[in-house]
């Protein structure tokens, strides 16, 4: 089925979509990773910062202890010793925190270990300073030594702390550098990937909207054609149905319901529903044909009757076909025609035909009556008149002789009429055997039939070469006799009759109004004479039965001769025309198909 659009693009669309989805997945995984890295880096900063702070706290705790000790040594006031006493705890707390913070870094652990040793030494130095500054155990030299040693230890501690801070800082810087490198690579990459994905999606969108447009166009066409189909089903009085054999689902077109005499979709069609409508006489035949479609895949036309629910009988003609679709499922398609009107018309035609045949038979029997029964009394009248001898006539009165002669001429005329009428009706009813004949030979026969009158009138007949055609020989001979006889009959008394017969081949296209165009070539045979002619206004009517242009006293005749000519020419699927210039002559033209 040609009109089903081919949406090839759907495959490429799928590819485009898959690519776009993968790009987007890739982009989001990169973004996720960046996020993770960022998180990591901020944790790292926090970590460094915390270590830094803890180290500073450590330092400040030692400094507090140092300041407190100095205050005590100078003032000997116990209150100055409080920070010193707390500082020990603070140092420990900081130390534990630091230990935890640097757990992942062995170098820093080592440094922390060293720092702790220094701090312990510093506290020992504090203890010693306190001890040697006490008035009870005062020793200026030792105090100086320890004080001085403490200062050096302090510097070492500071150094150690700075070292640890530096390490952290450097570590942070390194990490930051790597992170920056990673980050600096991706934006361009991401953006280009994003743009690619965007392009793909835009492409897909364009394709979709294009397909959508086409779909809209095809939808419209489909709508129109299904509308047309429904309409033509109604007008054409036919319907369609489909039966999906696999799904066992039957669909009727709307008109199927209508031609069954019910409203569309007024019942759900099933296998047996249709048979319910079929006339009991035809039920079996229809059921067999339905089965036949499945076996033979095709159903020749079947003719049957159905009964509508209102008991109206309709005549149906149906055909069907088995289709197998691409998925391999089998579908029966069927068409039902409601041919009731044609059927009735057919019956009427048959009736008319019978009547025609009857009337033809009657005509034939009329022929018989005319040819035999009517002629018999007439023949006897004539024969009896001929039996009245001249001797008998001599004793008759003048008027009796005249009456007898009038009876004789009337009987003669009646004979001519009956003979001509018979000839006319036989022209039509006798069997028409077409034989390839030389028209020149037939013309000769006709001339020999007319020898007497030709001699009498000293007529000159000139004929050119005539064709050989499939004709009914005796009819064409009759045609020639009638036409030539007509010319001789209506010749001018003071002129020798001349009849010229010519023939040529013509194309029917040259006479579009006259000739049957399905036959390409005709033979045009003309009979022209120099007779008295006739008024051209009668050129049609002279071919009509019993039409006469002259009184029968001037020219005896029955008005049948030219009607016979027309009939003969029509029997040969030809045409005859007449034309004339009064006083100059007449022209009869016969067209016979090649």
């Amino acid at each position: 089925m040609k009109w089903i659009p081919n949406f090839n693009s759907s495959n490429s669309l799928r590819v485009i979509f898959v690519i776009a989805v993968f790009i987007l997945l890739f982009l989001s995984s990169i973004a996720y990773k960046h996020n993770q890295d960022l998180n990591e880096s901020s944790k790292l900063v926090m970590h460094t910062y915390e270590i830094n702070i803890q180290l500073e706290r450590l330092m400040s705790a030692i400094k507090d202890a140092e300041t407190g000790q100095r205050g005590y040594i100078i003032t000997r006031n116990g209150r100055f010793l409080a920070p010193y006493l707390y500082s020990r705890d603070k140092v420990n707390a900081s130390f534990i925190t630091l230990k935890k913070l640097t757990a992942d870094n062995p170098i820093q652990q080592q440094n922390l270990e060293n720092l702790f040793k220094l701090i312990i030494q510093r506290f020992v130095s504090f203890e010693n300073c306190l001890k040697y500054s006490d008035p009870k155990t005062y020793d200026k030299r030792k105090l100086d030594n320890h004080m001085f040693g403490g200062r050096i230890l302090m510097e070492n501690i500071r150094f150690q702390v700075d070292k640890m801070n530096d390490i952290e800082k450097k570590y942070l810087e390194n990490r930051q550098k790597i992170y920056d490198q990673e980050i600096s690579l991706s934006p361009l990459f991401s953006v280009s990937l994003f743009l690619t994905a965007l392009t793909f999606i835009l492409l897909a969108y364009r394709q979709i909207s294009r397909d959508f447009e086409r779909l809209k166009v095809f939808n419209k066409r489909l709508l129109i054609s299904s509308g047309l189909m429904a309409e033509s089903e109604i007008i054409g009085k036919f319907s369609t149905w489909q039966w999906d054999l696999d799904a066992n689902k039957i669909d009727y077109s709307d008109n199927q319901y209508r031609i069954l005499g019910v409203a569309p979709n007024s019942f759900v069609p099933e296998k047996e529903t249709f048979l319910d409508f079929v006339h009991p006489d035809d039920k079996e035949a229809v059921a067999v044909s339905m089965q036949g479609i499945i076996e033979k895949k095709n159903l020749p036309f079947i003719y049957y009757k159905i009964i509508r629910r209102d008991h109206e009988i309709r005549h149906f003609k149906s055909t069907g076909k088995l289709l197998t679709d691409q998925q391999g499922s089998k579908i029966l398609l069927g068409i039902n025609f409601d041919i009731t009107d044609e059927h009735l018309l057919n019956i009427e035609l048959q009736e008319r035909n019978r009547e025609l045949e009857k009337s033809n038979k009657e005509l034939a029997s009329f022929n018989h009556v005319a040819s035999h029964d009517l002629q018999e009394p007439l023949r006897k009248i004539q024969t009896f008149i001929s039996r009245v001898s001249d001797a008998d006539k001599a004793v008759m009165s003048e008027s009796a002789r005249e009456y007898l002669s009038k009876i004789e001429s009337s009987a003669k005329r009646m004979r001519v009429l009956i003979d001509d009428l018979l000839l006319f009706s036989r022209t039509n009813t006798t069997k028409k055997e077409f034989i390839k004949s030389n028209l020149n030979e037939l013309l000769e026969n006709a001339e020999s039939d007319l020898t007497e009158i030709i001699h009498e009138k000293k007529a000159v007949i000139t004929a050119s070469k005539l064709p050989k055609l499939d004709v009914i020989p005796y009819q064409i001979e009759q045609l020639f006799i009638n036409l030539i006889g007509n010319s001789l009959k209506y010749s001018q008394p003071d002129r020798i009759p001349e009849i010229i017969i010519e023939s040529e081949k013509v194309l029917s296209a040259s006479y579009p109004d006259l000739l049957e165009q399905s036959i390409k070539k005709y033979h045009k045979i003309t009979f022209s004479d120099n007779g008295m002619g006739f008024d051209p206004q009668f050129k049609e009517t002279i071919f009509v039965l019993f039409q006469r242009l002259h009184s029968k006293t001037d020219y005896p005749g029955t008005g049948i001769g030219l009607a016979i000519c027309k009939k003969i020419v029509e029997n040969h699927k030809g045409y005859i025309l007449a034309d004339s210039v009064p006083g100059k002559g007449s022209l009869f033209t016969v067209f016979l198909p090649d």
């Binding site: 040819s371 035999h372 018999e376 023949r379 006897k380 004539q382 024969t383 001929s386 009987a411 036989r426």
Partner: protein, 149 residues
Amino acid sequence: MQKNALYILLADDDEDDRLFFKDAFEEIKIQTNVDFVHDGMQLMDHLNNLDNKLPDILFLDLNMPKKTGKECLIEIKKTERLKNIIIAIYSTSSSEEDIEDTFIQGANIYIKKPSDFNTLKKIINEVVTVNWHYHTSGLNRDNFLLRLK
């Protein structure tokens, strides 16, 4: 009945025709014996009666009651004893069909009943004097129907 005279039999139901026929034979100067039968049945009875002499020429009308001329013709041609009788069809009809049928059934000549007594005499003269042996051997569809010159 004169000896050596031609024996003519006419089968015709029409009394007037029989009269014309009889008169015509009387007026021509040929020695003939003319007999008449009135219908087909009578004709066949006459022919089949072994006591009766067979006619030299049988004039046979087609349109007769009881048994038509055509039926008689077929019967005669089927009967061994009768099939050589010269048969002249003598009918009012000159329809192609009748001429064709009787020719095929083996009649020797077809005469259309004339409407003039003198013509009838000429026809009878022609038929009676024809050399039938010669005529029959050269018989064809064209000279079957008698046409007077």
